[in-house]
Amino acid sequence: MEKCSFDHRVLQDDVFLINPGKTLDNSNAHEMVQALTNAQADGFRFVIMDLAALEFLSSAGVGSLLGSVDLFRERDGDIILCNVPSPIMHILTVLDLTEFFTIRPNEQEAAVACGKE
């Protein structure tokens, strides 16, 4: 895995977990796209995005995720959001994205969604 500026770990052979931290906005949107692109290039079909610590998600942060989802879905993979805090879920609801994103309550269930449990 090329360097990833976010907390991350490999869960399975083709499942990569990223923790974006407290903020996902203009300041790190491009880094997030880079991390997701690198993960896909390294053969990970799934990325579990653990949003437990996320306090601020801007439109730009959402944009970085939206633009990357197809990278995985086109290869029978996905970006799965888990541990989504309530304010963040509200934003996704406002943007009408709760059905678009695969969202799971926790890491285990996200792993199940990857077909790994």
Binding site: N26, S59, S64
Partner: protein, 548 residues
């Protein structure tokens, strides 16, 4: 919740999902605040373009969005573009040149614009087709005043949903709010590029340019300045940037005596940007600088800075001195040749006189001999005067007295005619019988006529023609006395004619090129002018005009 669009007031509640557009508006405001705080103070165009593309993707729930801003300085490349998702790195989306062609159409529509609506217009058809092929559904142009500076585009909404009227209203408000930020960034980039350009110019100036503030601190210096100061300053200064250093630390008082005071704004005020030479002693060696000191407004209000340009002209001055010495040396050689040439002319006249006397003696005609001898003596006297007083043609002493050009001409002709070079040449005279007397130097005019006649004869001899002819005319009017001398010699090439009196020039194998220079000097001594008409192979006419 309501949203004022300017045209109408519309409910922004989306009844399908029970979500208030007010929430989206709040989110959009948050996004705008985020962008503004990030880019208001540091509006880098590439950064803004990228952040804006991610923001509109998220705000309008699209995977594929792009933002393209025209490059303020086309020297730095095409438009600055950033795309998300599948639009990332897709150059086909931009076509800003086409968009600029369609500028008027884009301005006429409410933003954002559905790409479909642009297909029918011939001005936008090609552009809209390219966008539609890439999957762009909505576009919004950015204008800075009347100028289209960029465009943003949105692809399909994720999940196969379409853009509602509420989405369009929100997009409209978003674009209206974001446009000033984009325009500011564009203007900032334009200024930055201009600054870079001016800095490039400044750094390419060979002279050292320094700006010194009111406290004597160097605030700006160009590349030549750094280079020059590196050679002048102490080792401690050499390794540091001179910016921020007091000028007194950089320019030692011993190297530039008295000039530190001049470099202060107070000292500079009296200078009014004039250039002076400054002699400095650096490491025991004398160096010469061309220095200009002026004042410029400083960055703060009421601040007056000093701008100094320094150019080390030591080498140039040394070369100038050497050239000056060489010129003087060459001038001496030239004078020697010129004198020899003129003496040769006198000798020619004397020889002519002697040949005439020989003819008289052979014929046994002695009566003209005293007169001829007298004329020969007069010419020897002229030679003496020439050698005594006219050695340096550049300081020809002009002793004018009231004389008649016809008389001088007749006098000269009587000696010239018998010279060998004129034996096959017919000399015709057409002299104005009422020609007024003028204040002239008779010796100088004789010299002028001899030179011109010799040149005419040589030009005829060169043609090897048997009907060589020189026609000398005099005329006058109220303001001037005119002399013309025409020959049917080889003529003068146009490029030679241009240079004839300006430099030492000869086209003759044995010529020196100084005869006409002397002629020019004599004509100038009499405030006269000369015109030349010449055709190659047909001949030349000199027309000399003297003021009365």
């Amino acid at each position: 919740m309501t949203h004022q669009t300017g045209q109408e007031t519309r409910s922004l509640n989306d009844s399908r999902h029970g979500i208030a557009y007010g929430d989206k508006s709040v989110l959009a405001l948050g996004a705008l605040a985020n962008l503004t705080s990030q880019f208001a103070d540091n509006p880098t165009l590439p950064g803004l373009v990228e952040a804006l593309a991610y923001t509109i993707a998220g705000q309008f729930s699209v995977a594929n969005a792009f933002v393209a801003i025209k490059n303020p300085d086309e020297r730095f490349g095409p438009a600055i573009v950033f795309g998300t998702g599948k639009y990332h790195g897709n150059p086909a989306l931009v076509q800003l040149d086409d968009a600029i062609t369609a500028e008027a159409v884009l301005r006429s529509q409410a933003s954002p614009i559905r790409v479909e609506s642009l297909l029918d217009d011939p001005f936008t058809h090609q552009l809209a087709t390219a966008w539609r092929t890439a999957g762009v559904l909505l576009i919004a142009p950015f204008f800075s005043g009347e100028k289209l500076i960029g465009v943003m585009g949105l692809g399909n909404r994720v999940g196969g949903k379409s853009f509602s009227d509420g989405d369009l209203d929100l997009a409209s408000a978003f674009v209206n709010t974001i446009t000033p930020l984009v325009a500011n960034a564009f203007i900032f980039a334009e200024i930055s590029y201009l600054n870079a350009w001016y800095l490039d110019i400044l750094n390419n100036v060979k002279q050292a340019v320094l700006v010194i503030d009111e406290n004597g601190i160097i605030s700006t210096i160009n590349a030549s300045g750094r280079e020059m100061l590196a050679g002048l300053s102490s080792a401690a200064i050499r390794d540091a940037s001179p910016v921020g250093l007091p000028i007194s630390r950089v320019f030692g008082e011993d190297a530039f005596p008295g000039w530190l005071t001049r470099l202060s704004p107070d000292g500079a005020r009296g200078t009014s940007s004039r250039t002076e030479s400054l002699i400095a002693r650096i490491d025991g060696t004398e160096r010469i600088f061309s220095v200009t000191i002026g004042i410029v407004p400083g960055p703060a209000a009421c601040q007056i800075d000093t701008i100094v340009t320094l150019h080390d002209v030591t080498a140039q001055k040394n070369v100038e001195q050497r050239l000056f010495d060489l010129e003087r040396f060459a001038e001496k050689g030239m004078m020697a040749s010129s004198i020899a040439h003129e003496l040769n002319n006198f000798l020619g006249v004397i020889l002519g006189g002697l040949e005439l006397m020989q003819v008289y003696i052979e014929r046994g005609t002695v009566s003209p001999l005293p007169d001829t001898l007298e004329k020969l003596k007069a010419n020897v006297d002229k030679m003496t005067r020439f050698t005594a007083g006219l050695m340096d043609y550049s300081r020809l002493d002009t002793k004018k007295q009231n004389s008649n050009l016809n008389s001088i001409l007749t006098d000269v002709m009587s000696f010239i005619a018998v010279q060998k070079r004129f034996t096959r040449i017919e000399i015709q005279t057409d002299l104005d019988p009422d020609l007024p007397d003028m204040d002239v130097d008779g010796d100088q005019l004789s010299q002028l006529l001899i030179n011109l006649l010799n040149n005419a004869a040589d030009a005829i001899v060169e043609t090897k023609r048997q009907d060589g002819r020189i026609v000398v005319k005099t005329r006058h009017d109220n303001t001037q006395v005119m002399l013309s001398m025409s020959d049917n010699g080889v003529g003068i090439a146009p490029e030679v004619k241009e240079r004839l009196f300006k430099e030492h020039l000869t086209t003759k194998k044995t010529g020196h090129g100084y005869g006409l220079v002397t002629c020019a000097k004599i004509i100038a001594n009499h405030q006269g002018t000369v015109d030349i008409e010449s055709t190659r192979g047909e001949g030349t006419t000199f027309v000399i005009r003297f003021p009365r």
